[in-house]
């Protein structure tokens, strides 16, 4: 269909009458939606605006009459489901408000739905916010006529460690199965059996032959052995209109009237999904997806939903700690701690022998926090050694980001991704690293061609029906270059609106960003950089990278420095190019850094010698929510607020500002305020005391002038020599649910994570003698032993392991970045 008839179709309206009210709606609208538009409420369970109509629950029955071929109004013989019937010209609809037949039909349906419902509302988690409970009162009979024995099931059936199914309460509306199939693509639950014994159950190899009562065995597809291993399974709990699906984490925890709901933004990935934080007495009890049609629509990942316990674990710090003369950390007052921190930083930055200080903010901070870190480093410490990229990073990446991403405002959006006719993913796993990005891509399944430059086709890629361009890590540059005129990918990307998505992992692949830019130019496709962590884009915009000032201004540009120096009211900014995070850590480990200011950095995530760096640096200031590894070496620990206890802004990958207010009011301060206080002790006024102050300054700085940005990178694409043998290329990325620091304290969520495996192609596996059982992946630093999975279609000479899953802490155990050579050997070393 071309654009013109589509446009014409969009304005086609149909007029009909609902309960005597005239209404004009777009053609193809469902009766239930048309009724919503004129404020007529029709009870429903299976209907969900984001899911295809099912007509499964029959609760929305209404009387319908429509004009026949002769033009006379002809009534349908029986009430019709308004959620599954589209409107037609001249239709007359009578809902339960005006039609006795519709009202009787609805009451009858409700009575039937409640026949096998246990009515255990006092025990049920949904009690108080349950559509069935509410509509049984509004549209049901006041008393039950049912006197027989109800059907009972064993309760609850654990679909995964997190999702529990209580089949007695289920009314078979199929919202969960439709979500799993249509939206997430993880069709691990489905209807089973017929008639009165119909139930939702887990899919398994014996499904057709199951014992007639309950499913047996486990899902065949998944290594974790979990029947409902989906990264989006929590959404089924939220859309369940009864209490059939509940989450283990929230089970029996509270009632809706207990909870204070505050809107928030998820801190787990760069999508910036809107969430609702439900808390009671200062403690978060659950988080739900909030509707934001331009970002996450109705859905969030399980990580966004369930991983919030980390901020209230027993190692939370609420008072500053200062290392005393006895070598131990002691609680101190804020003035004492700030004075101690300032004294240490002064000693490191002033005097002839001073080695200078460096700042590592970490990748999870808000825009305002990142701005404060950047400004603190440059104004208070007089250095450009500040880098939020505590991950694989390169100068090429920095030039790419400065030239094309920072300060460009909104680029490619979620909507653009959805509408793109072709999408090329490189260094980016939509399901693992993108969260709801994956759901947007999957929404266009069948209308969109997806290509992925990756070592193998993940389950996520398969669900997107993506074409794999098998590539060993490091070879992405060459892979981009190989997308030439004749290839399918090049042809597809030429279509208007196509998008090339580059992930942060391309920083470990020399020439990849250069070639991605070249490919974008060649095909006319737009480029989107989707990092993994929530703070990455904000840090970039706020100038928390060594060579980039706020807005992507190049430190090397004198006019850029001048602009920023004037805005900050200082004479000049440091000129010396800063070191990136890896260099800072390496130099600190060599004893060449006088002081470190460390934000939310987890040493075990880093391949560099972070432990040694912290130990050998004379003075370490840590700004942390929890007392972690950094605190063990820190001289001063300043407590900061977790996202739910502060206001701020995350900048998501689109460049969209995702501001959020304080959900829970405590006296914890955000990083920006703590840095402001610390700078005051150093005799500098950062003016970042409030979120508004920081935002005002960022807004005043605005976009960089011409010539203030760094030049686009020009790096030759590296060639990777990936061949089956003893020495192969390491590929790795974070799975969505793993042992990241922000997922601590949530065992139910951890249980839904995928088990760590090592993936090899058949040839590679054979060459390494590791076709089954356990494989040992080793570097000069250490080794990992993981079950081997021989993966079809995988690039040869590559071994893939998850970055931080249980038993596979790559950075800590192997100490190398993806793209490095490791040895692979069958069996235990």
């Amino acid at each position: 269909m071309t654009a013109t008839p589509e446009k014409a179709a969009a304005v086609d309206t149909v007029s009909l009458t609902i309960d005597g009210k005239e209404v004009s709606v777009a053609k193809g609208t469902l009766i239930i939606r048309a009724a919503e538009q004129v404020g007529i409420d029709i009870p429903r369970f299976c209907d969900h605006p984001a899911l295809k109509p099912a007509g499964a629950c029959r609760q929305c029955l209404v009387d319908v009459a429509s004009p026949g071929p002769d033009g006379n109004l002809r009534a349908f013989p029986k009430p019709q489901p308004s959620c599954a019937m589209t409107v037609s010209e001249g239709m007359v609809v009578n809902t339960q408000h005006t039609s006795e037949a519709a009202d009787k039909a609805q009451k009858g349906v409700m009575e039937l739905l409640l026949i096998n419902h246990p009515l255990d509302c006092p025990v049920c988690d949904k009690g108080g916010e349950c559509p069935l409970q509410n509509q049984a009162l509004s549209n049901g009979r006041p008393e039950s006529r049912f006197i027989d024995v109800k059907r009972v099931f064993e309760k609850p059936l654990a679909l995964s460690s997190e999702i529990l199914l209580d089949r007695e309460r289920c009314i078979l509306c199929q919202r969960c199965t439709r979500f799993s199939k249509e939206i997430a693509g993880d069709a691990f639950i489905d209807l089973q059996n017929r008639g009165a014994m119909q139930q939702i159950g887990t899919f398994n190899e014996e499904v057709l032959d199951f014992d007639g009562y309950e499913p047996i065995g486990v899902a065949a597809e998944d290594e974790s052995g979990k029947a409902f291993s989906s990264y989006y399974s929590g959404n089924t709990v939220q859309i369940c209109p009864v209490g059939a699906l509940t989450s283990a984490a929230y089970r029996f925890r509270s009632r809706p009237f207990d909870l204070i709901s505050s809107p928030g933004i998820a801190e787990h990935d760069s999508s910036g999904a809107a969430i609702r934080v439900d808390h009671r007495r200062g403690k978060i009890l659950r988080r739900l997806a909030d509707q934001d049609m331009v970002v996450n629509e109705d859905w969030v990942t399980d990580k966004d939903r369930f991983a919030f316990a980390w901020q209230n674990l027993s190692d939370r710090i609420t008072r500053p700690l200062v290392r005393g003369e006895d070598g131990e950390l002691h609680e101190a007052s804020w003035p004492d701690a700030l004075a101690a921190a300032a004294a240490g930083l002064k000693a490191a930055t002033e005097g002839d022998t001073a080695q200078g200080a460096a700042v590592l903010p970490g990748g999870r901070v808000t825009l305002e926090d990142a701005y404060a870190y950047g400004k603190f480093a440059r104004v208070a410490l007089g250095t450009n050694d500040v880098d939020a990229r505590t991950r694989v990073a390169s100068d090429e990446e920095q030039a790419f980001l400065g030239a094309t991403v920072a300060g460009t405002g909104m680029g490619v959006t979620f909507g653009d991704l959805e509408k793109a006719p072709a999408v090329l993913l490189a260094g980016f796993e939509a399901e693992d690293e993108g969260g709801v990005v994956f759901l947007r891509l999957r929404k266009s399944l069948g209308r969109q061609q997806v290509f992925t430059i990756a070592p193998f086709a993940t389950r996520g890629s398969e669900k997107l029906n993506a074409t794999l361009i098998p590539t060993a890590p490091g070879g992405e540059g060459k892979a981009f270059a190989a997308i030439k005129a004749s290839t399918d990918a090049a042809e597809a990307l030429k279509a208007e609106g196509s998008v090339i998505v580059v992930g942060e992992r391309l920083a470990g692949s020399p020439g990849a960003f250069t070639q991605a830019l070249a490919l974008a130019k060649r095909t006319g496709a737009r480029l989107a950089w989707i990092p993994r962590r929530a703070g990455e884009r904000g840090a970039l915009e706020a100038g928390a990278l060594p060579d980039l000032l706020p807005g992507g201004r190049d430190v090397a540009s004198a006019s850029a420095r001048q602009t920023v120096a004037e805005a900050w009211g200082v004479a000049s900014l440091p000129e010396t190019p800063g070191r990136d995070a890896a260099a800072i850590i390496a130099d600190a480990a060599a004893g060449k850094v006088g002081a470190l200011v460390v934000g939310g950095v987890t040493p075990s995530d880093l391949t560099g010698p972070m432990g040694e760096a912290l130990a050998r640096t004379p003075f370490v200031v840590s700004l942390e929510v929890r007392r972690g590894e950094v605190a063990e070496h820190a001289d001063v620990v300043l407590p900061v607020a977790p996202p739910s206890e502060k206001a701020g802004t995350f900048v998501n990958w689109e460049g969209r500002l995702r501001g959020f207010a304080t959900a829970i009011k405590t006296d914890a301060m955000g990083d920006h305020r703590v840095l402001d206080l610390l700078a005051r002790e150093l005799g500098v006024d950062l003016k970042t005391g409030t979120v508004a102050d920081a935002n005002e300054q960022l807004a005043a700085l605005g976009a960089p002038a011409k010539g203030e940005r760094p030049a686009a990178p020009k790096v030759d694409a590296a060639k990777v020599d990936a061949k089956p043998g003893a020495s192969v290329v390491l590929a790795s990325w974070h799975q969505l649910v793993d042992e990241g620091a922000l997922q601590d304290g949530e065992p139910y969520l951890a249980g839904t994570g995928r088990t760590a495996v090592a993936r090899l192609s058949a040839k590679t596996a054979e060459a390494a003698g590791a076709t089954e059982g356990v494989v040992t992946v080793a570097s000069a630093h250490g080794s990992l032993e993981l079950p081997v999975v021989v993966t079809e279609g995988m690039a040869d000479g590559v071994v893939w392991v998850p970055t931080k899953s249980p038993g596979a802490w790559v950075a800590q155990e192997l100490g190398v970045e993806p793209g490095a050579l490791v040895t692979v050997k069958g069996g235990v070393a």
């Binding site: 006092p122 025990v123 009690g127 108080g128 309760k155 609850p156 089970r251 029996f252 925890r253 509270s254 009632r255 009237f257 207990d258 007495r281 200062g282």
Partner: protein
């Protein structure tokens, strides 16, 4: 002239038009009018000849009416399992926001009430409670009822927030202290219908295995009755003034909203 001036004027005009106040009570006759100034003494005189109603509290305590709304009690089933399922309907019904409940899952190792759910935290703040009894009406399992105890005063605010152990009914003669498994072969519905009437041997066996020192085991009961010092937990609450304030103070520290 402002709007309020207008209003004032209109009001005064209306005053001018209004009729003088006339009572619609029956008017006293001529004799009544003569005795009116001393009629009030009649009430006093009449009461000289009535029996006295003054109660000599606290020297002499008089039992209130059987349905008097006194301190709450969390009841138990005949086998000692708690009736409360932590549904929070009492807290929901409470017009004074005096009740705070947190539920939790029963586990095979710790079954406090029949079924899946039990009340882990149960607090009633008697500084807020207005003894209206709506919580009692809301309770789906008859776990919460009211006793006749009315001596609810204390020197501290924390002490007047009663915790679950303060509210639980005393253990009956044949009861076995929770947690312990349900009667084998029963489901929660059997308890709700009142079909569970006594502790069975399997439950005693389970407690013997897991808490051999439990004072409610038949073999330990005699020893504990001789030595009342062992009495704690289920036996407190005989007198509000000697209640163990310390326990509620511990919990009150984590209790920001419901009270004070």
């Amino acid at each position: 002239m402002t709007e309020s001036d207008d209003v004032w004027k209109v009001n005064r005009e209306r005053d001018g038009k209004s009729e003088p106040f006339v009572s619609n009570l029956p008017q006293a006759g001529p004799v009544g009018k003569i005795f009116a100034p001393v009629a009030g003494f009649g009430v006093t005189l009449r009461n000289f000849f009535k029996p006295t109603v003054t109660e000599q509290y606290p020297e002499k305590k008089v039992a209130p009416m059987p349905r008097y709304h006194g301190r709450h009690q969390l009841n138990r089933y005949a086998d000692g399992l708690e009736k409360c399922i932590g549904c929070e309907l009492c807290a929901w019904a409470c017009p004074a926001d005096a009740i705070y409940v947190e539920a939790d899952s029963n586990t095979p190792d710790a079954q406090y009430s029949p079924g899946e759910r039990y009340g882990r935290v149960y607090q009633i703040n008697y500084l807020r409670c207005i003894f209206c009894g709506l919580c009692i009406e809301a309770c789906p399992t008859r776990a919460l009822t009211m006793t006749n105890e009315y001596e609810l005063a204390g020197p501290t605010r924390e002490g007047l927030i009663y915790e679950k152990q303060d509210l639980l009914a005393p253990m009956g003669e044949a009861m076995l202290a929770a947690p312990h498994p349900m009667v084998p072969g029963t489901v929660d519905d059997d308890y709700y219908r009142g079909d569970v009437l006594k502790v069975v041997e399997e439950q005693k066996e389970w407690v013997r295995e897991n808490r051999p020192e439990d004072p409610t085991l038949p073999e330990n009961r005699a020893a504990h009755q001789e030595n009342p010092e062992h009495r704690k937990g289920a036996y407190v609450n005989q007198d509000a003034n000697v209640r163990n304030h310390q326990t509620s103070m511990q919990h009150a520290s984590g209790n920001l909203g419901s009270g004070i």
